[in-house]
Symmetry: C2
Subunit: 379 residues, 2 copies
C-alpha cells in the first residue's frame, strides 16, 4: 500500500463528489432532457471565463481546443504572431505550421516572458497579422504573462488576442470581457477539477468575424457547427464528464472565483517561500500561481529525483519538459488542492533531497509554509 | 472548498478503489453466485485474524459483534471477568449487564492496563467465571494490552478469552490461533479500510461449547443460525460492503499482514515522537499503534482545539471520551494511512496549537517525523 498524491500541473486531483457524479445511467445525448441539462451546465461555464460569450465544449484535450482556435480563426497563408517562452508557446507555433499559417515568433528565455513593447512593435510591424497567440500560464516553466496589459494594448488594434488558459483557468485571475481577451481556450483536467476529456473555447464578436471567413480545413472542431447546434453537441459529447462538470462548477460557484484565485495565490506563495527556504532557486522570473518550477540543485540527478518522489514517496510532481528535462521539477498548486497538499509536497521534497545528498534542514520548508498559512489563511 | 482529512480512529479513510467496488448491480443474496462469492470473501478473512476458524460477518457495527460474543457465550446469571481501562472496556460491562451477566470488573487507570497477575488472580478466585472479556486496543486512551501474554496464561484454564479487536485488527499484531485467543470480534470501519457496516466474530472450539449451552435471548446475533447457513447469511447481508470487502482484503493480502503491522508501528512511532517534540505528553502508559492520545496542554481549550482543527484546518482528530472529554485529543494512524497522513496531522496540530497560544516551534514535529521516516521507511 502506498498512498498516491498527484501534485502535477494536470491532470489534477478530482474530488470524489465530482467523480461520483459520473456514475449515472447514461442518457441519450439527443434527448430533450440531456440537451437542456447540458445547456444549463454550459451556461454556468461563462462564470469561469468571466465572459458573456458562449463557451463551447469539445470531447477533446486542451490541445484540441487550441487547434480549434487556429483552424477557425486563420486560413492557409494567414499570419499569426506567437509568443514562445516554453513548450506550450511552441505548441501554438506547431499547430500554425500544421495549418499552413505563417508565424512571427516572439521568443523569450524559458522562464521569462516577451516584453509588452516587443509585442506591440511586432503587431505594428505586421499589420497583416490576424491573430496574436499567447499562453497565459506557461506550464512548462511556471510563468505567467501580463494578459491584462496585453488586452489593454490590443483592444483597439486590428488583431485578435487568443490565449491558452488551459492551466491558468481558475488558478490565475482572468477576466475575459473586462480585459478584452478575444479568445480563450481551456480544458477540464486542471483548475476545473475534472478528469481529462473536455476542451473549452470561447470568443467574442471580434474573433467570430474571422471564423466566418476562415478557409482552413476543419470538421470536428468547426465552431460554426457547434454554434448552430448549441447547446446540443454536433457529435457525441462526453456525457458523463458533463455530469461531473455540473458538480465541479457548483463547487466553484460556491467557493467563488475571487476566493479561488486567492487560494491559489496563497498556495503558490507558500510553495515559493518553502522552496526558497531550502536554498533552492525558482526557474521563473515571473512565477505564477499554477505551478512552481524549481531548479534541481547541483549534485542531484533531476530525473532520479522525480522518479524517487513518485516511487518511494508516492508523490507525483512534474519534471522538466523539452530543454528543461532533468533540470527542474514542478510542484503544482492547481485545482482541488489546499494547504496540506503544499505541506505534503514540501515534506516529500525535503526528505527526498536529503536522502539524495543535498544539505537540507528537515522541517524548514514546512515551517515556512505553516507561517504563511497562519498569516494568510489555511486554505 | 476545504479538503477534509479523517484522522480519527474510525471511521477511517476508504481507498477509492474499495469504494468504487460498491457500485454494482446488486445481486440477490440467495443466488448461488452471490453465496459462493461471499464464501470466498469470508474465507479470506481468516488471514486478517490469523486463524483457521470461520469468521462470521454481520450487517452491524462492532458493538453488534460484541453483543453477539456476550449473548452467545453467556447465560443470565453467568459470571464474566471484564478488564476496564476505558470506554470500550466499560462497554463490555454494559452489555453484560443488559444480558444479566454477573461481572467481576478489573479496573485500571484510564491509559494504563490491568496487570497480568491481577487478571490471573481474579480467574483463580472466580473459578465459575466462564469468560474473560478484554479490549485489545482501548481506543479511548490509545492503549494496548499484552494479549499474547494473557492468552498464554488462560490457554490451560477453564475460561474463554474474548477480545475486542475492533480498532486493533491489522494495526496491532494479533495472532488468534498461535496466541490462544478463543474469541475475537472486530468491525469494518477501522484497519480493514471499509465503510462502517460490517461486524465480525470468530471463535475456536473451546468457545463454541459455550455457544451451544447459552440460554441468553438472542436472534439476529445467534451464531448457531450463522454457523448452520454459512457462508450464506441467515438475514440480508450488506451486499455492497461485501464486494468492497473483497477488494480491501485483496489489498491487505498484497501488502502482507506483517508489513501492515510494521507500517502502523512506524506511523505510530512518528506520531509519538512528533508529539513529544512539541513538549506534549502522551496519555497512555502503554501506547499502541492504533491511535495516540495526547494530553491537551494547560491553557488550551481542548474542545475548541478539536473543533478548530476540524473547521479551520479540515482535519478531524478525535477528542476525549467520557471522563477524558476536553482533556485529550487522539491522532489515529489506522487503516488506509501513510507517512503523509502523519505529516498532515502533526502540521495541523502545530499550527492550531500555535494560534491558540501554545508555545510551538513550527515545523519541529514534522522534522521529527521526517527523521523517523527516513530511518525506518516512508510508508
Amino acid at each position: 500500500m502506498k498512498k498516491r498524491y498527484l501534485i502535477a500541473p494536470g491532470p489534477t486531483p478530482v474530488p470524489i463528489e465530482v467523480l461520483s457524479e459520473g456514475i449515472i445511467d447514461i442518457p441519450h445525448h439527443r434527448s430533450e432532457e440531456f440537451v437542456q441539462f447540458a445547456g444549463e451546465v454550459f451556461e454556468k461555464l461563462k462564470y469561469l471565463f468571466q465572459t458573456k460569450n458562449k463557451v463551447f465544449t469539445f470531447a477533446s484535450s486542451g490541445t484540441g481546443a487550441m487547434e480549434s482556435a487556429v483552424s477557425n480563426l486563420l486560413s492557409p497563408g494567414d499570419k499569426a504572431i506567437v509568443l514562445v517562452s516554453g513548450k506550450f508557446g511552441e505548441r501554438w507555433n506547431e499547430i500554425c505550421q500544421a495549418f499552413n499559417v505563417e508565424t512571427v515568433v516572439l521568443e523569450s528565455e524559458w522562464g521569462d516572458t516577451v516584453p509588452l513593447e516587443r509585442i506591440e512593435k511586432a503587431i505594428d510591424e505586421n499589420p497583416d497579422a490576424k491573430v496574436l497567440l499567447t499562453t497565459h500560464s506557461e506550464t512548462s516553466t511556471g510563468t505567467v504573462i501580463d494578459l491584462k496589459a496585453i488586452g489593454e494594448m490590443t483592444k483597439d488594434k486590428d488583431i485578435v488576442l487568443v490565449t491558452d488558459a488551459i492551466s491558468s483557468l481558475l488558478a490565475q485571475e482572468l477576466r475575459m470581457d473586462e480585459w478584452n481577451i478575444d479568445v480563450v481556450v481551456s480544458a477540464s483536467q486542471k483548475g476545473v477539477m475534472l478528469p481529462p476529456g473536455l476542451g473549452f473555447i470561447t470568443m467574442n464578436e471580434k474573433a467570430w468575424n474571422l471564423v466566418e471567413n476562415s478557409s482552413s480545413p476543419r470538421y470536428y472542431f468547426d465552431l460554426r457547427t457547434y454554434a448552430k447546434k448549441y447547446p446540443e453537441s454536433p457529435y457525441t459529447p462526453a456525457i458523463n464528464l458533463i455530469f461531473q462538470l455540473k458538480k465541479a462548477v457548483e463547487m466553484i460557484e460556491e467557493e467563488g472565483i475571487e476566493k479561488i484565485w486567492e487560494r491559489h495565490r496563497i498556495l503558490a506563495d507558500a510553495v515559493r517561500a518553502g522552496v526558497r527556504s531550502l536554498k533552492l532557486e525558482l526557474l521563473s522570473k515571473k512565477p505564477g500561481n499554477v505551478c512552481t518550477a524549481v531548479k534541481v540543485p547541483n549534485g542531484v540527478d533531476g530525473l532520479e529525483f522525480v522518479r524517487r518522489l513518485r516511487r518511494k514517496y508516492g508523490v507525483t510532481v512534474a519534471g522538466g519538459q523539452g530543454k528543461l528535462k532533468g533540470k527542474i521539477f514542478r510542484i503544482a498548486h492547481l485545482g482541488y488542492m489546499g494547504s496540506f497538499d503544499v505541506i505534503i509536497a514540501l515534506s516529500s521534497v525535503e526528505m527526498c533531497l536529503k536522502e539524495m545528498g543535498y544539505d537540507v534542514d528537515l522541517g524548514v520548508s514546512v515551517k515556512t509554509a505553516e507561517e504563511i498559512f497562519l498569516k494568510e489563511g489555511v486554505v
